[in-house]
């Protein structure tokens, strides 16, 4: 019998060794994710009068958030915009992923995926600025269309409003949507598609009855990956959104930094998180349904 078995010391049981192993990232995650998250939730139940924080727990912020129509409006707009971004991104990502998976020679696929990630080489901020240059009143798009004689007046509905936010975010998140859909499509056994054809279905119906249902886990993943971060995005609405394209994150920032009302900002942040969680759970439940059949 070994000594260690007779006298188990700290750090020698299997569980303790496991904890030891994950301790650094665990501490890191606790310090930088759990603690701030807890702080936000705690803040949302406090109140602030100019510079003095009142630590007494109160529901005042939440009452205000629900009674003041501006907040609800911003939350709703955030949902609408990121919903639109998600729809546009996933709908445009699907054909690209499909093309790479089904029509690119196997040896070239990794190169295509590599090319798709190229936009990530420049910073997010620079890409947003570039869209400003493209969509602006005297921007690339308007001058080109005017030069070609398609329009007389520059188009104004494409910058400093919600449309611009949707266009910019959809571009920024495209690779995040393409990759999970691509992976799901790659996993589909090609003989299933031949079986669909063999059993009398056209290409289109085979796509509808076989390819799409089997790609759904990838589509749902893409929806979540795009939807969750875009609800809270505040750089893009700030830069290209104009007054009509502002979202809830911009209001949270304003509460924290300009209005000196951190508790109110925190309450809005908690509400936004709750909203995202609700939508995510909905999609995860949908995904369960599609994952039911496969392992």
């Amino acid at each position: 019998m070994s000594e260690s078995k007779a006298l188990p010391k700290l750090g020698q049981s299997e569980a303790a060794q496991g904890y030891l192993l994950i301790a650094p990232p665990l501490l890191y995650a606790l310090a930088l994710l759990a603690v701030p998250l807890g702080a936000i939730v705690l803040f949302s139940f406090w109140s602030q009068d100019y510079l003095t924080l009142d630590h007494a727990l109160t529901l005042k912020n939440y009452r205000e958030a629900f009674s003041e129509p501006l907040y609800g409006q911003l939350l709703l707009r955030s949902l609408m915009i990121s919903g639109a971004v998600t729809v546009v991104t996933v709908l445009s990502a699907f054909p690209i992923a499909y093309f790479v998976s089904f029509h690119v020679a196997p040896g070239r696929k990794s190169m295509w995926i590599f090319l798709i990630t190229i936009p990530f080489w420049t910073s997010y901020l620079i890409r947003v600025f570039l869209w400003k240059v493209i969509l602006g009143y005297n921007g690339v798009l308007n001058t080109t269309l005017q030069g070609l004689g398609f329009i007389d007046e520059p188009l104004t509905f494409i910058l400093y409003n919600a449309n611009a936010v949707v266009i910019t975010l959809a571009h920024a998140f495209a690779p995040f949507a393409i990759l999970p859909i691509f992976v799901a499509l790659e996993k589909i056994d090609r003989s299933l598609l031949e079986a669909g054809r063999d059993l009398g279905e056209s290409h289109l119906m085979t796509f509808w009855r076989v390819t799409l249902p089997l790609a759904m886990p990838g589509v749902v993943a893409a929806v979540l990956i795009v939807f969750i971060p875009t609800v809270g995005d505040y750089v893009t609405p700030r830069l290209v959104g104009g007054p009509g394209g502002l979202m809830i994150a911009n209001m949270i920032q304003t509460q924290f930094l300009k209005l000196n009302n951190a508790p109110m900002g925190a309450a809005l942040a908690v509400l936004a998180m709750a909203m995202v969680t609700a939508v995510s759970i909905l999609f995860i439940l949908i995904n369960r349904r599609f994952l039911k059949g496969s392992k």
């Binding site: 003989s191 031949e194 054809r197 063999d198 059993l199 009398g200 089997l214 059949g293």
Partner: protein
């Protein structure tokens, strides 16, 4: 080469079918007729083009040239979903997102049947393959043999003119495979549909088929009934591929229309008929004779025979319980030949190095010249 024709009117005709993949010549002038209600096998080593041929019939591959008709209709330009064929895929291709019943009923979507009629058809198809009551199961919860039955039911429910089977038994273990071979044969007789089976397993082809097309390098080497293929292979390659065949160098001369004189090393002189030269007699070429292991026998001590007798030495033996396989080297022959003997009551098993008298008949020789 004269092939055995189909016994019934042809459901499929292939005329000079060619298939190229770029420079690769996958099918080289395939011509054949496959009969109504026939169990037809495409047999050959991997890469011989048998699966390609099956896929051209299914409509997954277009012909480079030549003609394919199914039930009298030219199939040029007819896509897979419009052909009167259904396929059992090698991987079975069971839809993982659907239940067993949904898989089996997949092809019924546009059938002019009510929901209840479709459900009944699915139930009947499942019963036919021995899976009654499995309809509600998830596809991924099935075993390999069950998946294959689902694939069969899914194809047969559409009552195709031709059922195509792409190595359907290769993924199953030996016991299950043997059971499914007989079951497939029974099913084929029951439904009366033409089955075309692709396989690389010669035993499987012999057991199941009415006729077999043996393919090498994109061509049909021989198209015959199993017995003819086994007993009268047209080339050494076919003889070697199907079962075990011993080959001996030989000299042959044609004495008259109906007699060929053969001088085979180790065996000696014999006179054979033209039917024993299934590949045709080409004088002047290096010839060899082929003889199957079970057509010869070893004469044990005291046994006499009026058959021809050759002598040799037992080089090796393999004892299989019911059978013993001897490797006997005949006098004047370099390579030993295989002789199989049933282990009947009272028969000894010869040891290595023992002298052996081998009885044979001129009638079981096949000449390749």
């Amino acid at each position: 080469m004269k092939d055995t024709p189909a016994q019934s009117s042809p459901i499929i005709t292939l005329e000079n079918v060619e298939k190229y993949y770029g420079d690769y010549h996958a099918l080289r002038g395939i011509s054949a007729e496959i009969g109504q209600g026939e169990f037809f096998s495409l047999l050959g080593p991997s890469g011989c083009g048998k699966t390609t041929l099956l896929r051209t019939i299914a409509g997954f591959e277009a012909l480079s040239s030549g003609r394919l008709t199914i039930d009298g209709r030219d199939m040029a330009g007819v896509p897979a979903n419009k052909r009167p064929t259904n396929m059992v895929f090698q991987s079975y291709a069971i839809f993982p997102h659907l239940s067993v019943a949904e898989n089996v009923g997949f092809g019924l979507r546009r059938a002019p049947l009510s929901k209840a009629e479709k459900a009944r058809a699915v139930g009947e198809a499942l019963e036919m393959v021995g899976l009654a009551g499995y309809g509600a199961r998830a596809a991924h919860a099935l075993s390999g043999g069950q998946r294959q039955r689902v694939a069969l039911a899914r194809a047969l429910i559409l009552k195709p003119k031709v059922l195509l089977l792409d190595e359907p038994l290769s993924a199953l273990d030996k016991k299950l495979r043997e059971q499914m071979q007989l079951e497939l044969r029974r099913l084929q007789r029951q439904v009366g549909i033409t089955f075309i089976l692709v396989t690389h397993d010669q035993e499987e082809a012999l057991i199941m088929s009415d006729r077999i097309a043996v393919m090498f390098e994109g061509q049909i080497a021989q198209l015959d009934a199993p017995q003819m293929l086994y007993r009268r292979p047209v080339t050494r390659q076919v003889g070697e591929f199907i079962g075990v065949m011993n080959f001996l160098p030989a000299r042959a001369t044609m004495t008259d229309q109906d007699h060929i004189e053969v001088e085979a090393s180790g065996l000696g002189r014999a006179v054979i008929g033209p039917d024993q030269v299934p590949g045709g007699f080409h004088p002047g070429q290096t010839a060899s004779v082929g003889i199957r292991p079970e057509t010869m026998s070893i004469l044990f001590a005291g046994e006499t025979t009026d058959r021809r007798v050759a002598t040799g030495i037992v080089e090796d033996r393999a004892y299989y319980g019911d059978m013993t396989y001897y490797e006997v080297r005949l006098e004047g022959v370099e390579r030993p030949m295989t002789i199989s003997m049933k282990n009947l009551v009272g028969r000894p098993v010869l040891d290595r190095g023992a002298e052996a008298r081998v009885a044979w008949d001129a009638g079981s020789l096949v000449l390749f010249a």
